[in-house]
């Protein structure tokens, strides 16, 4: 049943992120991308299936049973994804600041048109 909650969470985060992504203001876009990356991170973890109380930390010396642990590989992937996502957020932020400074507006197309 927890699966349904997580699926819903992924869905709502994705929908919110997608909506914001399609908005015209740079700040909306960056928030949208943040929400989308939460959704994607959850999605990747979900791809390893959900397990409670199964942190992939083995006991030194014992022979571990892989089935008793949550899948560590998606977790490692998410870690990489988080780091890269962080870097990209920083870059995007600075680019949108620079765009704002150079074009005088925070519209994604660098135009002053408020109607869009």
């Amino acid at each position: 049943m927890n699966e349904i909650i997580v699926a819903l969470a992924i869905g709502v985060l994705t929908a919110s992120g997608t909506w914001l992504l399609l908005r015209p203001r740079t700040f909306q876009v960056i928030i949208g991308l943040s929400l989308l990356s939460y959704a994607v991170n959850l999605f990747i973890v979900a791809m390893g299936r959900l397990k409670v109380d199964a942190a992939p930390i083995v006991v030194a010396g014992a022979v571990p049973d892989p089935a008793a642990f949550s899948d560590p590989l998606p977790q490692a992937l998410v870690l990489t994804a988080i780091v890269i996502g962080f870097a990209m957020t920083a870059l995007l932020l600075v680019v949108l600041l620079a765009a704002r400074g150079l074009t005088g507006t925070d519209h994604v197309d660098g135009q002053k048109d408020e109607a869009r």
Binding site: M47, L91, L102
Partner: protein, 524 residues
């Protein structure tokens, strides 16, 4: 792991990484020293790439198991003919861009040399890796470096275009992650060869999920490759970028093509069970629409930089449609075409900067203040040196421009013609010719005509119609890389047979994934 040749596959990744890191330790103002390091490193990279291509061509596919972990558990680098060829192409373009930038671009903003090295690292990694998630990492790496290079020297146009570029590619990266993780969820592996093995054995009830994963992954690749309608960011971003950056970008879209080619043939090749050929139609029709759109864009472009950008779309469309045809002969021709069009567009981007220098040097560079940040470094001033006006500069530029135009329009004597011929001959050489092949024949022809019209228009305007002939001040080091690229093109015409033999072998390898799988996973 006994001889140094065994380590060759990792050199194209590690060498630029070390160089880039080293360059970060060198003081910002020591331009000559940095240039020296970069040039030496690129020479080494060229040597390594040559060695790799010779070794791969002579013996067999190199599989390099990083961390000494066996595949499919650890990450492997797989240097086959295709990968080696792409690596060599990267090194060549890198050398051209570097030499060109030494004239002045490397001083238009901080750390350009390092960014270029990281770009090379990312590209080489992407071409060499045999692991899907590692491919993602290298995609991000070269994208990150390309963002840096696209923004190099700042300015309104660059920032605006880069904003679009970055946002679209960030979305594509998210799709990449979704695709990769979905494939992992269904198939349980990230190694491409292993994935290819398991693809055939996917349970019927899981197959839809597997295909969804692949489809989403493909979208991520196609955004980079520049398939319509995912490609609108491309011409404007590349047009805004500094010339050497744009010259490197000519190969960025080819990474998307490469990824599609590699993964599609591995996962959905003829031997991959129920999903064989999945998405071929999408590739073909998408490619054809892209081809048409690129041709229209070429015609509709006022600035040469946009002509170049849309030419990239033309080549992307051509390649995608060719890949979708799913025949080794066509793929071989497509690979030849890929090399040619990359060299051509790259040379054109470099050239445009020189021929449009009539606005006076440094105009683009000085778009923003030279205000310094922090106290550690002084702002590198964009240098207003105007170079030696070499005699006959205009003639040389005109000749180079003509050569680029011939390349892009697919006219003789440059290899664009042979590439186009090979593609069409391969398409028409099949036993039965698909309707899409006829459409492609038509579109390719029209695209060639569009290129002639657009480049003719631009060339006449630039070289013939200027009333007071402004002799641009051009330095030999700026001409040299263009000449290098064009000389390579001529060599590709003269040595067409040998090159085509190589790409044909590469295509055959791609179309028989069993061999690839056996190299990567010898136990299975």
């Amino acid at each position: 792991m006994t001889s140094w040749v065994d380590h060759l596959p990792v050199v194209p990744v590690v060498l630029p990484l070390m160089t880039g890191a080293l360059l970060l330790l060198v003081d910002e103002r020591r331009h000559t020293f940095k240039a020296l390091i970069s040039v030496v490193s690129l020479c080494l990279l060229l040597i390594a790439a040559f060695a790799l291509i010779r070794s791969v061509d002579a013996s067999q596919t190199h599989v390099y198991r990083l961390g000494n972990w066996p595949a499919p558990f650890g990450i492997v680098l797989v240097a086959d003919r295709l990968a080696a060829m792409m690596v060599l192409l990267v090194a060549i373009l890198g050398m051209a861009a570097l030499l060109f930038s030494l004239a002045r671009w490397d001083r238009a903003g901080p750390r350009m040399h390092a960014l270029l090295q990281f770009l090379l690292m990312g590209l080489n990694g992407a071409f060499l890796t045999g692991d899907l998630f590692n491919l993602f990492v290298f995609f991000e790496l070269f994208l990150a470096a390309s963002y840096g290079l696209a923004l190099h020297a700042s300015g309104s146009a660059r920032v605006r275009a880069s904003l679009h570029y970055i946002v679209v590619n960030l979305v594509a990266s998210l799709l990449f992650l979704i695709g990769v993780s979905l494939l992992y969820a269904v198939a349980g592996t990230l190694n491409m060869a292993d994935l290819a093995l398991r693809a055939a054995a996917i349970a019927p009830q899981d197959r839809a999920l597997f295909e969804i994963g692949a489809a989403i992954l493909a979208i991520a690749f196609l955004v980079k490759a520049g398939m319509w309608p995912l490609c609108f960011w491309l011409p404007s971003t590349y047009a805004a970028a500094a010339a050497p950056a744009a010259a490197m970008f000519a190969i960025l879209s080819k990474v998307g093509i490469y990824a599609v080619l590699r993964i599609w043939l591995l996962l959905f090749g003829e031997t991959s069970g129920a999903s064989a050929g999945f998405g071929a139609a999408a590739l073909v029709y998408g490619g054809l629409v892209t081809l048409a759109f690129g041709a229209i864009g070429v015609l509709a472009s006022q600035h040469l930089t946009h002509v170049a950008g849309f030419s990239l779309l033309v080549s992307a469309g051509t390649l995608l449609a060719a890949i979708g045809a799913g025949q080794a002969a066509v793929t071989a021709a497509a690979l030849y075409y890929l090399v040619v069009s990359t060299l051509g567009v790259s040379a054109l981007y470099l050239l445009i900067e020189l021929v449009e220098r009539t606005r006076g040097p440094g105009a683009d560079v000085l778009a923003v203040t030279a205000e310094e940040f922090g106290d550690a470094y002084a702002e590198p001033e964009p240098i207003e040196e105007t170079g030696l006006a070499i005699p006959g500069a205009m003639a040389v530029l005109g000749l180079s421009f003509t050569a680029c135009a011939l390349l892009l329009a697919g006219l003789p004597p440059l290899p664009g013609f042979l590439a186009k011929f090979a593609l069409l001959a391969a398409l028409l050489g099949a036993d039965s010719v698909a309707a899409s092949a006829w459409v492609m024949l038509l579109l390719l022809t029209l695209a060639g005509l569009a290129a002639i019209i657009a480049l003719g228009r631009a060339g006449v305007r630039i070289f013939w119609a200027s009333h007071e002939p402004h002799i641009p001040r051009v330095r030999p080091i700026e001409i040299a890389p263009i000449a290098l690229l064009l000389a390579l093109c001529i060599a590709l015409t003269l040595q067409a047979g040998a090159v085509m033999r190589y790409v044909r072998d590469a295509a055959d390898t791609l179309h028989t994934p069993r061999a690839y799988i056996r190299e990567v996973l010898p136990s299975r």
